[in-house]
């Protein structure tokens, strides 16, 4: 039964991956990418990696198709055919794929007890985690405490990505000069059903994000997943009620400040343990009792991770939506004289399907 499930999931993964590469319509490719994320989440689930599956479901199936779709709304739905580049890419993919497949022969068998991953530091984590860190979810204790420095690096990477998007897209969206034109499409997309359902759903989504954030020590979850879920709730709000309404709740500046604050919280926790004479990010220095210190440290740094991830995602969505709106306003003013209605319909459909993806 397990084998059948594995085969089915892997076959579907393969089919999805090939069709992503094959398909010309990038919109469909984005949707397929979401499906790919969901399938991999299912696959990780059957392998027993619940935390990874959760992250994959939130990131791979949730927010990354959303961001890809926002990008597509800006730069068009169809790929420009380029034979040479396609050949080059195929050759590259085949070479790398062949290398990877040949490398798998050197890998230990699946579940091999003597595999390096199982004899190096993993036994220590598994056996000592409860007495040293004192939380039931070993994954969280490894991520947040034993490998805290790596996680710090990941958070900095996300922050840097946010900075990159900010520096690329900030200029045009920062100028408040153009009067906000409510295009016909934008007004029509404010649909009553969507608004009511979004209003009903946003509060539970946020609550669930907080649950995932603070339950990460006991069950699957943690700052990354919680941040993404929180951001999805927020993006849903900004899509249904408009960018301005979302910006009234959390202004652009606030989101920027928060994205840095999360990294600062993480780093300062490390510095604090530095100051009390222990190693960087050794949380046992934070309280008299070393286990209590670990608890406090993990909660604080997970909070930092959650804040950074959520605000970077919200910031990216703000920037993209701002660009999109500028584009739509330009289109509307350009075509106002000739075709009064319904010209930029494509982007509305994208917005709607985005909404659907978030739900």
């Amino acid at each position: 039964m397990e084998l059948l499930l594995d085969i089915a999931l892997l076959a579907l993964l393969l089919v999805t991956a090939i069709s992503i590469a094959w398909i010309k319509d990038l919109f469909a490719a984005a949707m397929l990418a979401g499906i790919y994320g969901l399938l991999s989440a299912g696959f990780f689930m059957t392998m027993g990696a619940v935390d990874v599956a959760f992250t994959e479901a939130a990131v791979g199936a949730g927010i990354s198709p959303l961001l890809i779709l926002l990008t597509l709304a800006l730069c068009g739905r169809y790929q420009r055919p380029d034979r040479n580049r396609a050949r080059l890419a195929t050759a590259l993919v085949i070479t790398v794929g062949a290398l990877l497949i040949s490398a798998t022969t050197d890998m230990p068998f699946f579940g091999d007890a003597n595999a390096p991953a199982h004899v190096h530091v993993a036994p220590h984590y598994i056996h000592q985690s409860m007495s040293e860190i004192g939380i039931p979810n070993i994954v969280t204790s490894v991520l947040a405490s034993y490998r805290g420095f790596d996680t710090f690096g990941e958070v900095v990477v996300i922050f840097t990505a946010g900075l990159g998007v900010l520096s690329l897209l900030m200029e045009t969206s920062a100028q408040p000069g153009r009067a906000i034109v409510h295009t016909q499409v934008e007004q029509q997309s404010r649909d009553i059903v969507l608004r009511v359902v979004a209003k009903v759903l946003i509060a539970p989504i946020m609550l669930y994000a907080l649950y995932v954030q603070f339950h990460g020590e006991y069950g699957p979850g943690g700052g990354f997943q919680a941040g993404v879920i929180f951001a999805v709730g927020f993006i849903l709000y900004s899509m249904v009620f408009g960018l301005d309404a979302a910006r009234r709740v959390a202004s652009h500046g606030l989101v920027q400040v928060l994205s840095a604050t999360g990294v600062l919280i993480f780093g300062c926790t490390g510095l604090l343990s530095f100051a009390s004479g222990k190693n960087f990010l050794d949380y046992s220095a934070l309280a008299g009792n070393s286990v209590t210190g670990q608890h406090i440290g993990i909660i604080v740094i997970e909070l930092g991770v959650g804040i950074t991830v959520a605000s970077v995602m919200i910031m990216i969505a703000y920037l993209f939506t701002g660009q999109l709106r500028n584009r739509e306003a330009e289109l509307a003013t350009d075509r106002h004289q000739e075709i009064p209605a319904g010209a930029p319909a494509r982007s509305t459909s994208t917005m709607h399907s985005l909404e659907q993806g978030a739900g």
């Binding site: 949707m31 499409v185 359902v197 319909a345 459909s349 709607h352 399907s353 659907q356 739900g359």
Partner: protein
């Protein structure tokens, strides 16, 4: 006694759910235009998910899993129809409109359809056959 009843009911619900999911998939592949496909997908999706989750709830018994499944069911009960609605609405706002064709023009077609299918003419709504194959 109760256990076996629960067992068989949940099995029946799961089977029904799988059946409806399958019919939805067949409809998605076979129906002629976007709106019909969406209809097949949307309705069977909601119904089948509800059936599958209720079947799982029966096997879960009184536990935390039951509560979580109930929450998931509630969530899907809200989101799935809304997603279908948003999809149809955005199609309506884009180039994939359901167009209102005046009755005189479609009369002949209706009569043909009537003679072919042996049923009374439906509405005077005709779906523009712009292909939405990507959905």
């Amino acid at each position: 006694m109760i256990d076996s009843i629960l067992h068989y009911t949940s099995g029946l619900l799961l089977l029904l759910g799988c059946f409806f999911m399958l019919t939805g998939a067949v409809g998605l592949l076979r129906f002629p235009n976007f709106y019909a496909r969406m209809h097949a997908a949307g309705i069977t999706d909601t119904l089948a998910t509800l059936l599958v989750i209720s079947g799982l709830m029966l096997t879960a018994g009184w536990s935390l899993a039951l509560f979580k499944l109930a929450l998931i069911m509630l969530f899907i009960f809200f989101t799935s129809p809304t997603a279908s609605h948003a999809l149809a609405r955005s199609a309506q706002l884009s180039t994939l409109k359901l167009t209102y064709v005046p009755a005189e023009r479609t009369q002949e077609k209706d009569q043909q359809a009537q003679s072919r299918m042996g049923s009374k003419p439906g509405s005077d709504i005709e779906v523009e056959t712009t292909d939405g194959s990507s959905v």
